[in-house]
Assembly symmetry: C2
Homo-oligomer: 446 residues x 2
């Protein structure tokens, strides 16, 4: 029995903090409480009221500048002119839907499929990662004839009923589907010395066997290959392969959820799965795809998709519309022309090196790991026990916010700083981030 946390709730604003806010902020939080559903969460004890963004920087209403080390939606940089221009041009001429012919969806499909293994050759479009994963699970179930889906222990795959039932990160208020199984995470930090690839493949077989024992037919494994909400666990390139072989040997499919590691983020490859030399059966995309314009995609092997699409029409009104495709195309172009994959690798390695120096200086800094500009910074009570230090992580998040650095936490214990800036993050930003973190660690110690 896995104990389920509520990571999504960890560094949220709470009503009891309201009295400490300035009047302007208080007016906004009160208005939110009055008008918005209570499922909404705000970051920080003192929520941030943003008014402007550019590249890797954000500004609040008082003019204070922030370094964004969290948001992967504005992946190529906040307010990137290429996306603004592409959207504006397309909005001025036409914005309809996929039941009429239009070149943009076809040109984009050709372009994006060209970045994937040849076997992944069919494209579909939605508006959100949730919609992409919801469809992907249905495709897995149609293809396999099974219902069982394996996800990682702290996975988050979406907000729809189907994807929520596969998202333990939503906390214990959200029931998991009876057909969902949670696989232990490849926590390389705590599995040090083990052959993590073989170990993870074994864990996969155990979950599949458990399904079988309970009369559930296995449909597939759904994971983002950097295990973002599990605490950012990139692991060694290739370690995932044996587990995916087990998935296939048991008749299931592998759905690579690229909402987190995709679009050049890891630096080592354009897609997260490509770090592991895997050919996924289905690839889903979302967040960074349109730099903030809602667009998501599902890309699949034709034969895997056919079991679903031969039976069921699927029409997503806004999905793949000319404006969404214009934004998506602009993002792909910018990643190439600004060489953001190489940039992510280079600057990510520099950042990781600087952050790693803090390991020696602080007993509480247990591990620094990452791929490209996606880095996990793990706080522990001490290096020997490696016991998660959630309180410290939350404290640091708030201190960093005060020093103008925006980030958040991840992992089942909420003790890992999730450092995932827009890819516009530059070498010269490292000082601000690492300096602020260093100071915050010192303050927390004293």
């Amino acid at each position: 029995m896995v104990v389920r946390s509520t990571i999504m709730d960890t560094n949220s604003f709470r009503a009891e903090d309201a009295d400490s806010l300035d009047n302007e902020t208080r007016a906004l939080t009160d208005k939110r409480e009055r008008l918005l559903g209570e499922s909404y969460r705000l970051f920080y004890r003192r929520p941030v009221h943003l008014v402007k963004g550019e590249g890797q920087y954000l500004w609040d209403a008082s003019g204070k500048k922030y370094l964004d080390v969290y948001n992967n939606v504005a992946s190529i940089g906040h307010c990137h002119p290429a996306v603004i221009e592409a959207v504006n041009q397309q909005m001025r001429s036409l914005n309809t839907h996929t039941r009429y012919l239009h070149e943009r969806i076809l040109n984009y499909s050709e372009d994006i499929l060209g970045t994937m293994p040849q076997a992944v050759n069919k494209a579909m479009y939605m508006c959100t990662g949730s919609e992409a994963n919801d469809l992907a699970i249905r495709v897995a179930q149609s293809y396999s004839g099974g219902t069982g889906i394996i996800v990682s222990q702290e996975a988050y795959h979406g907000t729809s009923q189907l994807t929520s039932g596969c998202s333990p990160a939503l906390g214990s208020g959200q029931p998991l589907a009876a057909t969902t199984r949670l696989i232990a995470t490849p926590d390389h930090y705590r599995l040090a010395g083990k052959d993590v690839g073989a170990w993870f493949a074994q864990q996969m077989q155990m979950q599949i066997d458990d399904m079988k024992a309970n009369g559930i037919k296995f449909a597939g494994f759904l994971a983002d290959s950097i295990f973002s909400s599990d605490g950012v666990l990139p692991g060694e390139p290739g370690f995932l392969k044996p587990a995916i072989d087990v998935v296939h040997q048991n008749g299931g499919i592998f759905i690579a959820d690229e909402v987190q590691p995709g679009f050049a983020r890891t630096g080592e490859a354009f897609w997260g799965f490509a770090r592991h030399d895997i050919v996924p059966d289905v690839v889903t995309t979302g967040k960074p795809m349109g730099n903030g314009i809602p667009v998501s995609g599902l890309f699949a092997k034709a034969d895997v998709l056919a079991a679903f699409s031969d039976q069921i029409p699927y029409f997503n009104t806004f999905g793949g519309n000319p404006v969404a495709m214009a934004a998506a195309e602009a993002v792909l172009d910018v990643i190439r022309t600004e060489e953001l994959q190489q940039h992510s690798l280079t600057v990510g390695n520099q950042l990781k090196a600087e952050l790693s120096k803090l390991i020696d200086r602080y007993e509480c800094v247990g591990d620094v790991r990452g791929a490209g500009l996606f880095i996990g910074f793990e706080l522990v009570t001490d290096k020997e026990s490696k016991a998660p230090n959630k309180a410290l992580a939350l404290d640091l998040i708030e201190r960093l916010r005060d020093k103008g650095v925006l980030t958040s936490v991840a992992g089942p214990h909420g003790n890992v700083l999730k450092l995932r800036p827009p890819l516009a993050f530059q070498t010269q930003d490292i000082d601000w981030l690492v300096g602020a973190l260093d100071e915050s660690l010192q303050e927390a110690r004293s």
Copy 2:
């Protein structure tokens, strides 16, 4: 046992039509076949390749002009400058998400909730109508403690697994959920002489009783109040009220799916439910909300929403982001400043009057009905039997396309023309539409 059709498939392009296409069109349909999943459908035997839109008009690649009598997404008119400008301005300054404070979501929420009954006082945002309905069903289930959802016989409520299971319009390839019940549609044309309000309330009780008999606890009734995919059945204002009373008496909630009738479309009220003097428990919106920018909403009574939102965090990455809210705000403003609700009523009535003249001239025109610029034009074999004439409807759709009029069909038999132009449709467009329809009817007769 209700026989389920596949209305969504009716006027689709089919591969066998490919040989009759011009080379340019053929190249595009071939490319679609190669690159896109097979769930995608194209309208028309000779698909339309659109390149430009303005107001109620569209243009194809050859320069041919079309009158759009189908698309309610570009509700205030294709490429409306107010939306283009609002989106561009906001994209230039900031586009993040709801975990930071921002005025736009709050100002919009205040504005839109002001158009609804006072009891509906909480707002949440997503990207698509499917996402809004998926959440609404979960809210109904949390609040009622039941699982049973009633929808109309040919309802369409979305593409997610949960909403697809409540969408018989998707055809027999899509299994309905075991907890879904279909209620007979309030077909005023065929129920002529009956007290449809009392009849429909009785049908509602029958379905609730059937659930009870099968051990399913009733959660709610989900419907768009103009029964769009059931064949556009607006009925008399107020006729829905007794059925909604039955829903409430049995512990369920009413979810008003306003994706079709909302945002001034019916002319008689800003919202479809308001024609019936009903206070819904949950209201969902989508398509016309952002005039093509993906944005949708869920608006609910605080106590109904609380059962869900006290338990489960809900974060929709793009939902309610500043750009989506800018588009939505512009749409609301334009509806007011251009007085589109009154316009829809006036022009809708003129159009209905002209279309009704065809009833006397053609034995096959059985019924013309509508509210504002949402009109159903029903084709029958003869007025006595009222037998649906699907073949004629499909033939007319293709003939209309050739005459530059874009529309589609609705209803369980696919024999109702769904006339639902952008609200930018003008009095002077009536001649084109009615003239083309008249000609097409003559051609079909000969």
